[in-house]
């Protein structure tokens, strides 16, 4: 098998020390089966079926996160941009899965490569590579296709994060193109540094389910785009005053966050890459603890600082906790998970306020939630486990810097060529009419919020 396991050191941290066992997968190793049928009759088949089933269920849960992102972004933006937000999210999941099929999957998990730039197999590999070994435990604890669909659902996440940050002003075709390149090329490329067994993996970096590889990456891509794009019209008034632009539906935003919370059980739990009872149940526990701790911390901090319990901050707090625990969900203790969540929930409130102060306009708080808390989560593994803090720092900065610079370059290029921002007129009228000629809520009377 050329393909390396995604997280070869998954069992190699705190937990295995505590329980004194080595990886399940390690024992499966290289034996091959003559045919799939032979495999189905082998002793380990039932366990393989469980593991594979869990990967598929996890893929379904991660898929649901895309609905979560879509509704969260919709809820936290204005009604006049709703169709546009939903459309972008439809595009992202579509392109995410398709480009990953055509190129990304093979590029990201390339097995032997120089460790920095993976070019992937020829586009056709997915359709043709029907080697029996890929469907058995000689490959992994799940089939090649189970692997593909789970990873494909992950891939689109990075672009979704950017979507929220650039909402309400980005030109549709430019954004669509950006997504294709980001998800189709930059994400698998940098992902392979760690999950594909590249240079960061070789150095000993640890990022269980992607605090840096997915969230830090997405958050800093978002930051670059927002810098190139500028804030929404009317957000920052002359004289330093900030005029908040209110999200139009708190139920939609809340539905989004609950779905993301749910989906994260698949995101983190599935990253165990087997249904190992101990690990998956442990990861569920740390994930839930960090999420609610994030929510509680954001409640307390926003109440203390802003003087009112701000629902949108609590929602961001949940997500902050989830992003925070993503790097070390299997590697830190349960009390550490609570602390990681609490810190993330506090960080996110201050980060959002800070970005607003420096006029980085991020309607949904994506940069703070995914970027800043992604760094926090990655570093926390260095603080709360045996992992080296220094290596964690190098790893997270590598991802954030790469995403930032890549996006800065690409988005600047798009700005110079096709243009990335809708006209002021269109922005004030709303992108639904401007880009789509559609209304999201034609039956409802909308208030013009210029003071009214």
């Amino acid at each position: 098998m050329m393909q390396k396991l995604k997280n070869p050191r998954l069992f190699g941290t705190a937990l295995s020390a505590l329980f004194g066992y080595t990886a399940l997968s390690a024992t499966l190793g290289a034996q091959e089966y003559g045919s799939y049928e032979a495999f189905t009759e082998s002793e380990g088949f039932a366990l393989f079926a469980v593991n594979n089933l869990w990967i598929l269920m996890a893929a379904a849960l991660v898929f649901l996160m895309h609905l979560g992102f879509a509704t969260l972004e919709t809820g936290l933006t204005r009604s006049k941009n709703t169709v546009n937000v939903l459309f972008k999210n439809c595009w992202i999941i579509s392109i995410g899965i398709l480009t990953y099929f055509l190129w990304g999957f093979n590029a990201m998990y390339p097995g032997d490569f120089n460790g920095v730039i993976a070019l992937g197999s020829a586009a056709g590999s997915m359709g043709l590579n029907l080697d029996v070994g890929l469907m058995t435990d000689a490959y992994a604890d799940y089939t090649w296709w189970g692997d593909f669909i789970f990873q494909a659902m992950f891939a689109a996440t990075a672009a979704t994060i950017v979507s929220g940050a650039v909402a309400e002003r980005v030109k549709l075709p430019a954004f669509m193109l950006f997504v294709v390149v980001l998800v189709g090329f930059a994400y698998p490329l940098s992902g392979s540094w760690q999950w594909g067994g590249g240079w960061l993996d070789a150095m000993g970096f640890y990022d269980f389910a992607g605090s840096s590889i997915v969230h830090g990456f997405g958050g800093f891509a978002a930051l670059a785009c927002v810098i190139v794009l500028g804030p929404r019209a009317g957000k920052y008034l002359p004289g330093g005053k900030i005029r908040p632009i209110l999200g139009h539906s708190m139920p939609l935003a809340t539905i989004g966050v609950f779905l993301l919370f749910l989906g994260w059980f698949g995101f983190n739990g599935g990253s165990v890459l087997s249904a190992d009872p101990l690990l998956v149940s442990y990861v569920f526990t740390t994930t839930a603890l960090a999420a609610v701790s994030g929510g509680i911390a954001a409640t307390v901090v926003s109440w203390g600082v802003i003087k009112k319990p701000d629902l949108t901050m609590v929602l961001n707090g949940f997500l902050a906790g989830l992003v925070g625990i993503t790097a070390g969900a299997d590697a830190v203790g349960t009390y550490s998970a609570v602390i990681i969540g609490l810190v993330a929930g506090a960080i996110v409130v201050f980060s959002i306020l800070m970005f607003d102060k420096i006029k980085i306009d991020d309607p949904v708080g994506a940069i703070s939630v995914h970027g800043i808390c992604g760094i926090w989560g990655t570093l926390a593994v260095g603080l709360f486990s045996a992992q080296s803090f220094g290596i964690q720092l190098v790893g997270t900065l590598s991802y954030c810097a790469f995403a930032f610079l890549f996006s800065l370059a690409l988005f600047s290029l798009l700005k110079a060529t096709m243009g990335i921002r809708v006209s002021p007129d269109e922005e004030s009228q709303g992108l639904d009419i401007g880009e789509h000629g559609q209304e999201a809520y034609p039956d409802f009377q909308l208030a013009t919020r210029s003071g009214v």
């Binding site: 900030i242 908040p244 003087k307 701000d310 949108t312 959002i352 003071g451």
Partner: protein, 112 residues
């Protein structure tokens, strides 16, 4: 014939409607408006930034009445809508030159 426009607090509408019924005024047209005046709006916070809601919800009641009923009508609205607190609203009396009931072509005082 006069058109009386009363801008009142929304929760007073029910009482104004009843007060008008009592003096025999059985028709009115109501719209939801926003008022700006001495009564100040409130300051809210969204994700850490303050904003002011300047315009407060009010209800505007349009009632057309024959000239001789104007005094009684104004009185009825005033009493029903008063809370004594700032923001109770205003009543404007405007001339109307003609009134027509669409259904019957009636005009003038019979039309209301």
């Amino acid at each position: 014939m006069k058109l009386i426009k009363a801008i009142i607090k929304p929760f007073k509408l029910e009482e104004v409607k009843e007060a008008l019924s009592e003096i025999g005024v059985e028709g009115m047209t109501v719209s939801e408006v926003k008022g700006f005046g001495r009564q100040k709006g409130h300051t809210e916070i969204y994700r850490g930034s303050e904003y002011t809601v300047d315009f407060l919800p009010k209800v505007m009641v349009d009632v057309a009445v024959p000239d001789d009923l104007v005094g009684k009508t104004v009185e009825a609205i005033k009493n029903a809508a008063k809370t004594g607190k700032i923001g109770d609203g205003k009543i404007f009396v405007q001339p109307v030159e003609e009134v027509i009931r669409i259904r019957t072509d009636e005009s003038g005082d019979e039309a209301v």
